[in-house]
Amino acid sequence: MAMNKIRGAFAVPRKGETFELRAGLVSQYAYERKESIQKTIMAMTLGKDVSALFPDVLKNIATSDLEQKKLVYLYLMNYAKSHPDLCILAVNTFVQDSEDPNPLIRALAIRTMGCIRVDKMVDYMEEPLRKTLHDESPYVRKTAAICVAKLFDLNPAMCLENGFLEMLQEMIGDPNPMVVANSVTALSEIHHTAPETQALQVTANTLRKMLMALNECTEWGRVTILSTLAEYRAVDVKESEHICERVAPQFQHVNAGVVLAAVKVVFLHMKYVGPELAKNYLKKMAPPLVTLVSSAPEVQYVALRNIDLLLQKQPDILNKELRVFFCKYNDPPYVKFQKLEIMVRIANDRNVDQLLAELKEYALEVDMDFVRRAVKAIGQVAIKIETASEKCVNTLLDLINTKVNYVVQEAIVVIKDIFRKYPGYEGIIPTLCQCIDELDEPNARAALIWIVGEYAEKISNAGDILGSFVDGFNEEFSQTQLQILTAVVKLFLKRPDKAQGLVQRVLQAATAENDNPDVRDRAYIYWRLLSNTSDQNATKNIVLSEKPPIVTTISSLPPALLEQLLQELSTLSSVYHKPPEQFVGQGRFGADAVQRAAIEEQLQNARENPLAAAAAVSGTASAQAQSNVENLLDIDFDGGAPASAHTEPSGEMSGLEGLAGTPVRVQSPAAGAPAPQASNNLDDLLGVFGDSGPSQPSSSGANGGGAADLMNGFSGLDLSGNAAHSQPQKSSQDIMDLL
């Protein structure tokens, strides 16, 4: 009766799909009703709004057919929010079901109740939840345990008041391993969302229970327990040893998730055990890690990213396993790129020959991106292993002789780095200079020009080479322009007779005809230096100063970040090599907060200026939405939002961008476009000099830092020699970057 009234209010259409479904749902035949429920679910999946059928679907809830019940529950979970009042009609069935003699039904009821996110339902959950937590069937108990986490998500206060947390904590001692695992899961979730609850406190007792359950519960449960163990800080060495001993057998599990979780636990607890034992565990860890490399490509990718992290901390663990990381022809690119990086990391003077042969093979393939990375890897190996540098240079020369355009360009960039470490290879310069006409990428051109400038005194026709570049100065990319400028000045300082005119021309072109402030600034610095007559050697000291050799070109993470990431092994954060805060919405700026703020703003806007708001809503909403797609991910106006805010906020988005927390697009590192060319002019500083510091260049850091260094260098110089003398240490460092 009440139902009829409500239905009347919806003004039912007399035809169409919804009408047919409705007719089926209230049919007198059970099989027709069931079929209609299935069709409704199908429509729901396709994204059609079938919420209007809510009352009719609800009528079918009281059934003995388990399959049908599940379907109705599924529908309820999806649409409960749109009909919060009607949900109350289902409560009775839920409560009844939670006392059903069949444990499957009891579990189903309690599982579904927790997913119906309606306040009225929550009010009725307390009693059934309490009962099911103490159910005789472990299946029901393990379901109820998770339900506590659901309840906490909905209504933390109620969860705390009723002592559900304490009950969960007791359940860690449950005889059934799966109940233990789920209790730990639920507690750890609550603990992470609300640390003040101190929900999951590992004591000697719970530790024992967890280690016991570890060997018996499902693989997923093991991952949970292992993750908890990884976060746990053992009280003494003995406990750490004990944990390692119990966890190490899990290395042999089939599931890569378990293996990585076990590696994480042992790796973190290993710090506290004796060095001999730790070494043993490291040895034990290697074969399972290698095995992960033969798993499915996606799992492999995660594993490889983690291996990369582990190698940065413990470079020796996979010393003998180079061959495993050889790329297969059919490996997806993201796996190949990662394998390359790892191969370079484990390269040593014993396996370097093998590695070089393999890298050369890759450099002859056709996938351009992969080839470039392979060439780059050869350079990294050369700089890493001194004894192999000659072989590397020869390999690079072989590659240059193939005359494949992009191979040549990348090889030249790489050779420039090699010169920074081993200045003795100048014999190959003529070969390089032959390729001069083929280089069309700014990076490669810049690299070659740098080499010419650096060895100007040994290249007889350096003047001619640079001259041709100076002629086309203003057509070059600005990073190449900067290099031309520096190279010409170097040439002038080394052989003043040959380059007198050249230096005039280039300074003129750079200061008078150039729009780029970086280029102009650098030209002015040189001009000023060159016109300094008081101290003839000052310019030479600065421009031709000895540069510190490069230590490595293999990028590594800063130690603090590495430590943090090792705590996050096997998570997304370890895949991205970024701390979680960078890509996970923080609590305050989470989805709900943003949504609330957005609705508030909409309402505010509507009150102040109804016309404009309406126009904004009806207007270019779609075009805007497209560009802001990332922000909208976090903001979604569904059931709960007031009707006026149902359309996308369009014009207002600009104000929201800051609110959206982290609307940054994070892509997997390996997937990025070929980095060097893409970025801005400052890359020149990075590409050519960024490596100058004794430590490794982290590309993003050096990028930003480059500009600052340039400015510092400039100000230091502007105060003439004075400042440079007072802080010789610092400013010479800055100048170093400049050169």
């Binding site: 729901m44 379901t143 991952v223 095995t291 490509p297 594993a303 056709v366 997304l572 991205y576 927390g661």
Partner: protein
Amino acid sequence: MLSGILVFNQKGENLIFRAFRSDCRPRLADIFRIQVIANPQVRSPILTLGSTTFSHVKHENIYLVAVTKSNANAALVFEFLYRLIVLGRSYFGKFDEEAVKNNFVLIYELLDEILDFGYPQNTETDTLKMYITTEGVKSAIANSPTDSSRITQQATGALSWRRSDIKYRKNEAFVDVIEDVNLLMSATGTVLRADVNGQIVMRAYLTGTPECKFGLNDRLLLDSGASSGANGGRGGGISGNNKATRAAAGSVTLEDCQFHQCVKLGRFDADRIISFVPPDGEFELMRYRATENVNLPFKVHPIVREIGTTKVEYSVAIKANYSSKLFATNVVVRIPTPLNTAKTTERTSQGRAKYEPEQNNIVWKIARFSGQSEFVLNAEATLTSMTHQKAWSRPPLSLSFSILMFTSSGLLVRYLKVFEKSNYSSVKWVRYMTRAGSYEIRYV
């Protein structure tokens, strides 16, 4: 953990949308479609937009997508997606678009069972099949309280993979040792990489709750008295000479092994005994990896000559390297041809060769390849001239085959003992097979 599981077909239609948390909104389906399916640039299986992460795998013609909002365990997410595929295949035979469309109700039911609030629960096929079934018949069992309490007992118990009341008139156990041998050979004929990925699949038809012990000719096990001990010997350190004698004495070195969850890992770790209570029916008992003394069943000598820009000549010789009593079946050699091949001619001393333009391969099939024999293929590919001469990537030549009663690693099953309280006798069968994994040969 997981906020939702989505399934798409190749066109980007959303076939399954199951949200486990309130933060998985319907609109995410559109976003995945636009950002991944419609975007050929995407090369990574993981994509994070805002604070939403999409992890996807592709299987047959569907995309399986996991949506997460937190710093989720990536390895677990992918393992779970692959488990879903395994489940789908065991339920529907083939897990593709058609299967999903025809069984979407069942898939929802499965998802409801194997994930709770985004946390994976029991995903053992055998257990799930007891109460989630394709035909409505068996679900009647789940409706009766006594049966279902038994089921739930099993679904959560310490032996979650085995029912307690199994009875067979004849107790049998079949053990299949299946090895995939991987090879990467350089153009000069040196072995760059050779290893074996093996799996041991068991079909157990045993009454009651049998406790099984399984023994291999694992060197560490045979050597347990030797000084190297359980840990020391693993990483090697024993001279190559010594290794060879070991192999001759009939033991193999397993680089690493992984076991089905029924195996007591603690016991293996302590004294390398494989002991377990098997699930009923077929299951994968263990996987292993071996890299030492790999017997390569085939030696391949390819000679590929590019004559000018219009012709490529091939001469490929294959020699079987195993005992003449054995034979390989379904030997298929794939010989890559340049993209602009117009026509080919082939001559073979055995089997048939055919040009497959869509794969850019000459496919040479030999149905039966007996040991120690050697066959040759001579072929010639005529190329069309192209305006834009793009370099030929020269992909490696690849082989597939299977050989019965041969293991590349030399692994043997030494014993399988079954202990049960009723003390019945059981019959055991062992079968060995070696297949090609990625068996690639480069050429100049």
